[in-house]
């Protein structure tokens, strides 16, 4: 027994010393590596991933030796033998790469898949639809049938060609997949509703003509359909890959095959994700040979990582505007700031179904009480534009005529309240989402102050995210702040979501009452004449926001990015998403 005791004691001491030594040794060697930080660190980190990528690429090359793939494969290898690694960060890991199963993890799909069409962001900030893997298309006169011709040189990253059958499989899966969340914009395709209702298992409106030709028929005309095709929703997958991968599609890098400029090679949960160039990409090879995403849960860490040169593009959405102002709006970073209009409207929703906000005068008073310019300047550093309606500045549907009518006027608001018989105010809950962004939280706190100033006894109630969503859905949320960023550049995207039907306005806790207006919103979509259609949308906007004061329109913002010295040029996503295609980045 005595022996054991001694041995144990020895072991204990031993392990302790070992621990101490390990600690010291580690710190010593660390000091040295860290000296030569930028390259060594990146290189060390990337080495395994790069190997893997190379291996895979090599394997594919042998598999598809004779076809013309050598050309693009050769191009994919950096000419100077030097890897250009683009290092990006995000605040939390993505959930999946399968766009049919997510509505917000678009970064990877944008990079690894192609869409039939793309939206191009011009230098002047305007956008246009351009062909992508669709070489050409035509629309029938009645606006119902869209005929497409695919490029014949599009290959997936496993070397197989992309054909009409892949497009068909993708669109069918959108509706047949049990937990698909991407049906909102595409149910207009003929036969889609039948699949969702369980009455069909193939998509009636999709007709394959040959490998490169197909047609899509709609239920009724929809002018925004081409824009929809350019959204991440309509990423094109590989039929063979979908069948083979099953539930692993979008979850396992090797089983997620796309035709985009990059392919995904490695994904460590909560840690990192690696993209490398797709050797079979049909276009010019991307500038960056690899893209490395890393998760930075703490914004301050993300910021420090950028300043330490460990990240190449800093998404300023993660930072408070005052930090952006004090740190990056300086001479040192003058040329490094990239700003893009975010096609999204911030708004304070007012629930017309709840007393006393069913009185339009009360709603108007709330509109006038909110110091919108103050919020824009203080919380967002003034980087945006006030919006007085529904459609964000810079989007299709936005008109100058509908702007400028709403002024900050607390005195006028008080008078209106008095007129409505609420001279002494009333109790009002502002509902906050605990997982919402800190900017929204700040907006809410200012709005609370603004409403208190005109005599409304407003208090903030915070809910966890799912309770918040549930309450909003139940139509009982009195007042809250939100933002809608366009999925596709068409007024129908935003106005339909909020005012398309009684169900929609209830689900958004707006409880907009005018059913005639809602019917007009729904039918506006099918107006074939473009001028007439946009006129109708402008009229609806005026009616809903200016006359009926359904919400307090706030502003559309700019999205600010800071780029590192290693980046020559960077084109963000056209709608100002934080997610973007790394193909738009040119490395030095």
């Amino acid at each position: 027994m005595m022996m054991t005791k001694k041995i144990m004691a020895l072991l204990l001491c031993g392990s302790l010393t070992a621990g101490i030594l390990a600690g010291c040794g580690g710190s010593g060697s660390e000091g040295q590596t860290a000296e030569a930080k930028p390259e060594t660190e990146a290189a060390a980190e990337e080495a395994p991933a790069a190997d893997e990528g190379a291996e895979e690429a090599a394997a594919e090359e042998t598999a598809a030796e004779e076809p013309a793939a050598e050309e693009s494969a050769a191009e994919a290898a950096p000419a100077d033998g030097e890897d250009k690694i683009l290092r990006l960060g995000w605040s939390k890991d993505i959930q999946t790469m399968d766009v049919h199963r997510t509505t917000d993890n678009y970064a990877v799909p944008l990079n690894i898949f192609d869409r039939l069409l793309e939206v191009k962001l011009n230098e002047d900030g305007s956008t246009e639809l351009v062909n992508s893997i669709a070489k050409d298309y035509s629309i029938s006169d009645d606006g119902l049938v869209y005929s497409f011709e695919l490029r014949d040189d599009v290959k997936f990253c496993d070397g197989t060609p992309l054909t009409s059958a892949d497009v068909e499989a993708t669109f069918t899966r959108m509706f047949t997949l049990e937990d698909s969340v991407q049906t909102d914009f595409t149910t207009c395709i003929k036969g889609a509703q039948a699949i969702l209702d369980g009455n069909a298992d193939s998509l009636e409106g999709f007709r394959v003509i040959d490998d490169t030709h197909f047609e899509i028929e709609l239920e009724e005309p929809f002018a925004g359909f081409l824009s929809v095709l350019a959204t991440p929703t309509c990423c094109i997958f590989s039929k063979a890959n979908l069948e083979e991968a099953g539930d692993d599609f979008g979850m396992v890098p090797a089983k997620t095959i796309g035709s985009g400029p990059y392919m995904v090679t490695d994904w460590k949960t909560n840690d990192s994700l690696t993209l490398v160039r797709n050797p079979y990409y049909w276009g010019e090879p991307a500038s960056a040979s690899e893209v490395h995403y890393k998760v930075y849960p703490e914004p301050s860490t993300f910021n420090m990582a950028f300043q330490n040169g460990e990240v190449d593009i800093l998404d300023c959405d993660f930072l408070d505007s005052s930090i952006v102002t004090s740190t990056y709006e300086t001479d040192a970073y003058k040329d490094k700031l990239i700003r893009v209009n975010r096609l999204g409207t911030y708004m304070i929703s007012i629930n017309a179904g709840i007393e006393p906000m069913s009185d339009v005068r009360v709603r108007k008073a709330i509109q006038m009480a909110v110091n919108r310019q103050g919020i824009l300047d203080s919380i967002f550093g003034g980087h945006g534009e006030l919006v007085d309606g529904i459609y964000p500045a810079g989007s299709i549907g936005f008109t100058a005529e509908n702007q400028g009518w709403l002024q900050y006027d607390p005195e006028g608001a008080k008078a209106l309240l008095k007129e409505a018989g609420y001279e002494n105010g009333f109790d009002l809950e502002i509902s906050a989402n605990a997982s919402g962004s800190s900017n929204i939280a700040s907006i809410i706190q200012v709005v609370q102050q603004n409403l208190t100033d005109i005599g409304i006894n407003a208090h903030i109630e915070t809910y966890d995210e799912s309770s918040w969503l549930a309450k909003r859905k139940s139509g009982e949320m009195p007042l809250f702040a939100g933002v809608w960023t366009l999925d596709y550049n068409d007024p129908s995207n935003i106005i339909d979501t909020f005012f398309g039907s009684a169900e929609s306005t209830k689900g958004r806790s707006l409880n907009y009452a005018d059913t005639d207006v809602m019917a007009r919103v729904t039918s506006a979509k099918s107006i074939v004449d473009e001028t007439e259609r946009l006129k109708e949308y402008a009229d609806l906007e005026k009616k809903i926001v200016e006359e009926d004061a359904s919400w307090v329109p706030l502003f559309a913002l700019q999205h600010t990015f800071v780029i590192s010295d290693r980046i020559e040029h960077f084109t963000p996503h056209w709608a100002g998403y934080g997610d973007f295609n790394a193909y738009g980045v040119t490395m030095k």
Binding site: S27, E178, A470, K473
Partner: protein
Amino acid sequence: MKAAVKRLVSMIPVLIGVMLLTFIMLRVVPGDPVSIMLGEHYSQAKIDRLTRAMNLDKPMWEQFVSYMLGAFRGDLGVSYMMNKPVTGLIAEAFPQTFRLALMAAAIAWAVGLIAGITAAVKQNKLPDHLFMGFSLAGVSVPIFMSALFLQYFFSYRLKILPLTSDGSAASLILPAIALGWNSAGSVARMTRSSLIETLQADYIDTARAKGLLRPAVIFGHALKNALLPVVTMMALQISSLMSGAVITESVFSVPGIGRLATQAIQNRDMPLLQGTILFTTILVILGNLAADLLYSVIDPRIGDE
């Protein structure tokens, strides 16, 4: 031996209790993870479809039975948010947390023992106050604060150590210090009081009377016994290290268990939260058991208490 068996047996109800409690704690609430998954785009039909697909429409007891059966097979369900099996996620994350906790424990023990012994030997003198102040500060400073400041000074200002975890041992030093300092405080306080008490014992007087020198008395006789209660602390440390890991992992971007738990809460990802809690708790129980066994090996006197 008898004690060990007894201890093992008493673990079983605790384990079952932990499972039951975790289950009840989280399932009593009719959560709606579906609306979170759908985010901005939803309709009732879609919500119903997803609810069915995820078995949430089954009665509670059925969900519970299938969860229990699954858990024994090592199947903890599928994370709503990550769309991956919880067991796999934990298996992927645990090595990170384990390495971090191990390094933190090493730091805690090294610093804590040295501080505790010095303080005890120099009781009520300057080193005592100095060391105990230092360790008490470790217990009192919120971990997030020490983590943020360590990161700011060593990684950002001085650029000596990596800012975030990249899998290397070096990148774990700062999080381990932040985590270890906190535990070092407890170890030091414990060592000090235990050693002071031992030094007052009769056999120490005897040893002194024999003419042994002070260091020989302290290291040869007193320390061995004084450390006994400190050993049991090892088990308690596992629990507090796991709690602390939640913070340090978030600040230093370590993809470990604590991060999974935080995410699970933020996204109301019930299976993931359940899994991480169950896992860490079992870890603590096993740690307790190990400490108990170790204790009875070192000190046979407490065999069959």
